[in-house]
Each structure stands twice: as structure tokens, then as C-alpha cells.
């Protein structure tokens, strides 16, 4: 669809990249934003009083505004972090004062380790209950099950928007309504790593309290994440990271910190990656998020149809069958062939897929699987990529099956 925007294909013209859920490829405009800053404007933000640094600060805050617009949020609600993992770990530390031994933290079985371990560890630290919401056989959240899993003492609900293995798109706004109906003080945290850049994200419509994603999975650079936090909640929390840039009065007996969101951003951020994020959002907006979604849905539909046609009952595709409930991620198992061997053999033919448990041990355990093969799509993929994959999978069968 938009291969020409991605310079990697100039060097690797035959590359079939089906691993965008791990990290997306980068368009030229994003690469330019990074090199331009590093080459011509490499100054720090906030403190410099000379024109170059002032321009960098201005540009930095402009990306914050752009990100806020992208999420239908307020710029004071946008905190830049090191990535989704760091963002969720930060939230887990920020919320430490909100839970005690009588509290419950609820997460789902489909969570990536980065939205699982920080909560399990918080529960261990505070001695509170850590509960798992099990999924339906099609890998979805049952709203009835959710209703009975949330109690008045459930203080935190953490879940992903789009599963990085099943591809399931969770109905976040419905989930939030149900959760808040039962407990109006529940804090809902959404891991949107596989949603950002693939489906629209509207904080007002979703009514979540926190939402995190990584820039590098949506055409940006590594080392940067975005943490959205609802203003009313952020205002009740105290910083957990301390240092330069975030303090108002460091000499006071009890130091005073700056206003939102600066008080949650200690130290020099990854400025180059923030500019890359700005370019990435511009790129996504120009393509149109709805067009991206439609394109990925078509690829998933084509992949499911053809994989089933060719491999019949030898292939098991995980996740919902309803395409409306699926993002651009598709995991499968092929009878008699270990995912590592699949990934290796197709990899030798220039096809990049992912094999393993994809940082979702609880999900794989619940499915009784040790590993799966995952393919994931983006704007540079075409149906012929899937045709090439199918040929390579046939080759793998030929090599490995008796």
C-alpha cells in the first residue's frame, strides 16, 4: 500500500515484514525528523534561554499538543515515558497509595507481561489480592464474566486494548462503563501498544483513567512511550521519579513540584524520539486511521481465508472469528511443526514472523500451548506477502514433516 514511504525496502526490496506488532518499520518523514534534530537542532528543552533551545522546547511542546489531539485529551494529560512497559510500571508505582491489603487488582489472561508483572508485583508489595479474568474460548472478554469479577474492593482493572497474540480488540468503553457502574472509584488502565496507530484512540469516548503506548510500534522511534492520565486522577498523585526539570522548589523542607505533566517527567527525555512521534502522528493522520484499519482488516481477512483454505485442519488460528473484533495481529499453530522452526525456515526466505510465547506466558499456559507463530500487519503489507508466506509454510511442511 505505502511501501515507497519506507526506506528499508530500498535496501531489502524482497523483504516481507510481518512483525509490526514487535516494532513497525519507519517512514522517511520520521527518520528525517530524528536526523534533522540531531544534525541541526540538538539542544535541550525547557532550560535553555538561547533561540535554538527555545525552538526545541517549543517544538517539543507542540508534539505534546499534537499527541493530545491524537488522543482527544488535554496536553496536561500527556506524559512522555520510555515506552509502554515503563509507563505501566510508573502507573503501578503512582497508584501504590490507592491500594491496601483489602484491595483487589484485576487483570486479564491475555495481558502482555508488561501489563501483568507490574500489577502482580504491586499486589505482592501491598499484600492485596491479584485476580485474573479468564477469557472465552474465542479469546474474548465476556462482559458477564467481567461484571461478576469486579467487586466494590476492586481498585484497579488493567487490560489491553488489542491483544498482541489473539488480535482481540476489547470493547474498552463498554468495559469501562461496567467497571465504573460497579465501583465508581475503580481505576482502569489500558495497554494500547497494539492499538495506537491501528485503531482510533479517543480518551473521552473510552473514559479510561490511564492509557499507555509505545512510539516505535506506530512508526516512531524506540525509547519513547506515551502515558495518558486523566487529569482529575493525576492531580491526586505524587511523583515517583525525581530529578531535573520537574521541581519547583528543591530547597524547601518538603520539595514542591511543577504542574502537570512536567512533575511526572524527571530528567531529559528522548527529544529526538518525541520529534519522531510528531512525524509519525502526522503520517498516520495523513493516511487516515480509518483507512489503516480497513487495510489491516482486509489483510487479516485474506490471511485467515487463505491459510484455512491451504492448510485446512492442520492449522489452528487463535482469536475471534468476527473480523470486527480483530486487530492486525494473527497467531497460529501448524500441526507437527514447532513455531521456532517455522520462523526460521520462512526467515531464510526473507519473511519476518515471530515465534514463541510473545511475552504472554499466562495466555499460552491457559491455551495449553508452549509457543505460537505470529504475523502482524501494517500499511506496507500487501496480500501477496501472505501468498509468499503460504508458499514458505508449505516448504516448512515439506522439510520437517515425515
Amino acid at each position: 500500500m505505502h511501501k515507497k514511504d519506507f526506506p528499508i525496502f530500498e535496501k531489502h526490496s524482497d523483504l516481507i515484514y510481518l512483525d509490526s506488532a514487535a516494532t513497525s518499520l519507519k517512514p522517511k518523514s520520521v527518520i528525517n525528523a530524528v536526523t534533522d534534530y540531531l544534525s541541526h537542532a540538538s539542544t535541550n528543552i525547557s532550560r535553555g534561554l538561547y533561540p535554538l533551545a527555545e525552538a526545541t522546547t517549543e517544538r517539543f511542546e507542540a508534539v505534546r499538543k499534537q499527541t493530545a489531539l491524537f488522543l482527544n485529551a488535554d496536553p496536561t494529560e500527556i506524559i512522555f515515558t520510555g515506552g509502554t512497559t515503563q509507563a505501566i510500571n510508573t502507573v503501578a508505582r503512582l497508584l501504590e497509595s490507592k491500594v491496601d491489603t483489602d484491595s483487589e487488582i484485576l487483570v486479564t489472561t491475555m495481558e502482555h507481561h508488561s501489563n501483568f508483572l507490574p500489577w502482580k508485583e504491586l499486589a505482592l508489595r501491598k499484600g492485596c489480592t491479584f485476580s485474573l479474568l479468564l477469557l472465552t474460548t474465542s479469546g474474548e472478554i465476556s462482559l458477564d464474566a467481567l461484571r461478576s469479577a469486579i467487586h466494590p474492593h476492586t481498585k484497579i482493572l488493567a487490560l489491553s486494548f488489542v491483544s498482541n497474540v489473539l488480535g482481540t480488540i476489547n470493547p474498552i468503553s463498554e468495559i469501562t462503563s461496567i467497571a465504573k457502574e460497579i465501583n465508581k472509584d475503580i481505576i482502569v488502565i489500558v495497554d494500547a501498544a497494539q492499538a495506537a496507530g491501528h485503531i482510533p484512540l479517543d480518551m473521552k469516548a473510552l473514559n479510561v483513567d490511564f492509557l499507555a503506548f509505545s512510539a516505535h510500534k506506530m512508526f516512531g522511534s524506540t525509547g519513547l512511550g506515551v502515558l495518558y492520565g486523566k487529569k482529575e486522577i493525576l492531580e491526586t498523585l505524587s511523583p515517583v521519579d525525581f530529578g531535573g526539570g520537574m521541581v519547583q522548589d528543591a530547597c524547601a523542607v518538603k520539595p514542591e513540584y511543577k504542574a502537570l505533566p512536567t512533575c511526572f517527567e524527571a530528567g531529559t527525555p528522548d527529544i529526538a524520539s518525541v520529534f519522531a512521534l510528531g512525524a509519525a502522528i502526522t503520517y498516520i493522520t495523513a493516511l487516515g486511521i480509518e483507512n489503516i484499519r480497513t487495510h489491516e482488516k482486509e489483510l487479516v481477512s485474506y490471511a485467515i481465508e487463505n491459510l484455512k483454505k491451504i492448510f485446512g485442519n492442520h492449522i489452528t488460528i487463535l482469536g475471534p472469528t468476527d473480523l470486527e473484533k480483530r486487530g492486525g495481529v494473527l497467531s497460529f499453530t501448524l500441526n507437527g511443526i514447532h513455531p521456532h522452526d517455522i520462523a526460521h525456515i520462512v526467515g531464510e526466505q526473507g519473511i519476518c514472523v515471530r515465534a514463541g510465547e510473545h511475552c504472554t506466558a499466562p495466555l499460552h499456559k491457559s491455551l495449553g500451548l508452549s509457543a505460537t507463530t505470529r504475523i502482524s500487519f501494517s500499511v506496507y503489507n500487501e496480500t501477496k506477502d501472505i501468498d509468499r508466506l503460504i508458499e514458505a509454510l508449505k516448504e516448512a511442511q515439506k522439510i520437517l514433516l515425515k
Partner: protein, 120 residues
């Protein structure tokens, strides 16, 4: 050169010494956390010599072939000789070079076997 050479494919398709032993004197298991593969090795030692050996568990072609090749190699050997085996010896058995990502698959068998020998 493809990783999937005849020796590896032969041992993957027709594994030697596969299956748990009924009354092992030694047993050990190990896990490869990147792919979730698990391997178990059962041994019957007699007079300090490996008299019988069996491996079980699921895994990729590399880890399975490596286990099969290794069990064949160590049958009849003394415990000290087996404990002295190095990763390089396993690669020699497999006859290929492995990338860092696949090295764990290839060496899981040796790790499991050494664990088994150290068990009581």
C-alpha cells in the same frame, strides 16, 4: 547453508532414545523460556556408566535433534566425561553453527543432561 541439514532432520524425524525411563537413577529437566520448550532426561547409571538414557518433552527440530544426538553420544560413557562436554561439542554433533537466538534450543539438551547427572 540451511540449518535443516540431513543429520538434524534424521534425528528430528526418527529420534533415538525418546521416552521416559521407568526406574531412572537420575532425572533432570530444563526450560527454554523464550519458546517454552521443556526437556526431561532420565538416566540409569550402573557402576558410574550411563547404561540407559531417555529424553522426553516437546520442542523445535533443533532442540529435539540435539537431544537425540546427545543421548546417542553419551550412552555407555562415564558421568565425568559427560559433565566435561562443552557447548562446542554439541555444535559438532549437530554439524551446524547456530545464531545466538537458536543456541538455547541447541544447548537445552546438554543443560538438561548435566542437571540429571547432578541429581540424586
Amino acid at each position: 547453508m540451511s540449518l535443516y541439514q540431513d543429520v538434524i532432520l534424521d534425528h528430528y524425524r526418527n529420534p533415538r532414545n525418546q521416552g521416559e525411563l521407568k526406574h531412572p537413577t537420575h532425572t533432570g529437566s530444563a526450560l527454554n523460556p523464550t519458546c517454552g520448550d521443556q526437556l526431561q532426561m532420565d538416566i540409569i547409571m550402573e557402576n558410574g556408566i550411563i547404561k540407559e538414557i531417555g529424553f522426553s518433552g516437546a520442542g523445535c527440530a533443533i532442540s529435539q535433534a540435539s537431544a537425540s544426538l546427545l543421548t546417542e553420544e553419551v550412552l555407555g560413557k562415564r558421568s565425568e566425561e559427560v559433565l566435561a562436554l562443552s557447548p562446542q561439542d554439541i555444535l559438532k554433533l549437530l554439524g551446524v553453527t547456530l545464531s545466538p537466538a537458536r543456541l538455547k534450543c541447541g544447548l537445552l539438551s546438554l543443560e538438561t543432561l548435566k542437571k540429571a547427572l547432578s541429581s540424586k
